[in-house]
Amino acid sequence: MRFEHSILAAADQERVHDESLRILAEVGLRFHGTLALPLLEAAGAQVDRETGVARIPRSLVEQALAIVPKTFTLGARNPLYDFALPSPVTRYAMDGTATFVLDTATGERRYGTRRDITEALRVFQEVDLGVMAWPPVTASDAPAHSRILHEFLTMAAATSKHGQHEVHSPEQVPYLAAALSVLAGGDDELRQRHSYSVIYCPVAPLTHDGPMLDAYLALGSLDIPVMVMPMPVTGTTGPARLFGNVCVANAESLSALVVFQLSHPGRPMIYSSATGTMDFHSGAFLGGTPEMGLMTAALTTMGRFYGLPSTAAGCTSDAHEPGPEAVIDKLLTTLPPVAAGADIVIGIGEIESDQTLVLEQILVDAEIARLCERIADGIDTSPGAELHDDIAEVGPGGNFLAQKSTRAATRSREFVRPGLMERLSHDAWRQLGRPSMYDRARERVAEILARPQVDPLPQATRDALDEILTAADRDLA
């Protein structure tokens, strides 16, 4: 049976739901922007125009939950990578929008660029459990007013897997819509294939950004899926108990669900979260803690509670450099949401609380993902798995080396074969110069980047996208 574990008992799931409804109805959420409040007010929410706070009744949540799709497929530019939601197994997404990259050549941290997005996503393309790309760094070399579009389209060119990103203002929407239509081969195909989605983070606690929300609502006409990722942090932007913080995150998710469904009923949505904890001394955000793993697992369960595609941030770390601390953090923040049955864990390739991209970390994280996959697969207890006949044949004192079942095991999924962790003898390892897992990852990154790109965009498509970007650079300035 699969290794599954719910952090929240059924009664606790009901408590999270009830408390979230109470927050929505009694405390309310502040909505900046022009579109959300009129929608909410017309639907029966109690809106204070002066403060921008809307108190949302239970009925609106129930209506939204009734009409939001429970299943859909995240398309990909190459249909080979289409990913149906919900998924019986956990898959992975690139972490996104870090500020910095650890420069491969110098080993120093610097601001990210479009080239870093390209290189990282070319590596991510080869991560077999990776299904969803996200520009891993912001492109400091692109103009600020159109940067998000450069990042989006750099991603689309670098990988043929499903891509998600943000958009920051309604003015950017026409350019993004035009570009996504070019990539999909038309608006109808874009609506149908869902090859690109947007990730939406409410501003904790209980606040929605104006321009960003307005932009995301505008993209509803193209049926662009929205992943809602609340990020309350215990003690700073969220209450200082894990359970309370889970409730705030869930309330923020439900509030977004209501607004997006009021605007475009039936628009595909993905439940997610990226909660964190506070460093009690500095106040800094921590995303690689056991408490974070527990909260995202609980929220994964809440996504399932609502029957929604359910994903979670994970594989995250607060370490300042690649190495053991990063691996420990990442394991602790991956396994809980995997055990809770997350469709996608989002966080491959970064350290420093999602602020620094490290190319070789992408492959180290892929290794962590593979090992967690093995744990999640559990123990096959199907009839015959006890191998009684072999036990009887070998008998006391023999060995199982020459059994056909042992030979079959070498080729089965039951025993994971690591990709980066070599199981060499001590002497063999020394003779190779004592390579670490990260050394091997660096070599493989170099190999991947030396090969021709997989699924490059046709030149005509690239030209069309470049034209759109040129117009955006000019018009949005």
């Binding site: 912001t138 950004d209 003690g235 106040g283």
Partner: protein, 217 residues
């Protein structure tokens, strides 16, 4: 009696009890204790004790925040009497602080503001989504020593440069120090835009502000 009152005032700050701090301030006024004495001999030693415990790792950021809130409650009650008596509380410096236009993230900015307030700086918080020119206007209005600009996003971070330019345009650059912060900011960025400093968190911002104003801790 006054010594006991001062001890209680100190304790109210250490405990972070704004209600108690306020009650004691009213008691001081009712019994004729000088408001300046109440602040400097009663409450400030409490802040000092909290700061020392924080530095030693025995207290944490929420302790500092609660202490600062209690201090604020006491000062608000004492301030009118202090002004009426012609007295003036010693402040480390005046700071105008805000989150840059286009950005509504404020937790980091709030932490810096509270830490600076705890360290004796007078804070003028402009809130979030603040245009660059507003920083300059407020700095001129309150005769600020420091302007602090926060940004969480790499796209809005560019606005920190605009604040530097606005301060220059307002003719304030020679007397105002400019500090920047937020997840994407670095010392290199501060140098590039001509700011005077950068700090990674609220704790470091106190040392930075003191250093810029030539104040020993």
């Amino acid at each position: 009696m006054t010594a006991e009152l001062f001890t209680a005032m100190r304790q109210s700050i250490v405990d972070g009890e704004a209600g108690a701090a306020g009650d004691l301030a009213r008691q001081a006024l009712a019994t004729g204790v000088s408001p300046l004495d109440a602040i400097e001999r009663g409450y400030v030693p409490g802040l000092t004790a909290v700061g020392e415990a924080f530095s030693a790792g025995d207290m944490f950021l929420p302790d500092m925040m609660l202490a600062a809130r209690a201090m604020k409650a006491a000062v608000e009650i004492l301030e009118p009497a202090l002004k009426a008596s012609g007295g003036q509380r010693q402040i480390a410096g005046r700071v105008v602080i805000g989150t840059i236009k286009g950005d509504i993230h404020e937790i980091g900015k709030n932490m810096v503001a509270m830490m600076l307030a705890s360290a004796g700086f007078e804070i003028h918080d402009l809130g979030v989504d603040v245009p660059a020119e507003r920083f300059a206007e407020k700095a001129a209005e309150v005769d600020a020593d420091i302007v602090g600009v926060s940004a969480l996003l790499t796209t809005t971070m560019a606005g920190q440069r605009n604040v530097v330019q606005a301060i220059v345009a307002a003719g304030l650059r020679s007397r105002v120090k400019i500090i920047v912060g937020g997840a994407p900011a670095t010392q290199g960025w501060a140098d590039e835009i001509g700011a005077d400093g950068y700090s990674e968190d609220g704790v470091a911002s106190v040392a930075l502000a003191r250093q810029l104003l030539g104040i020993s801790a």
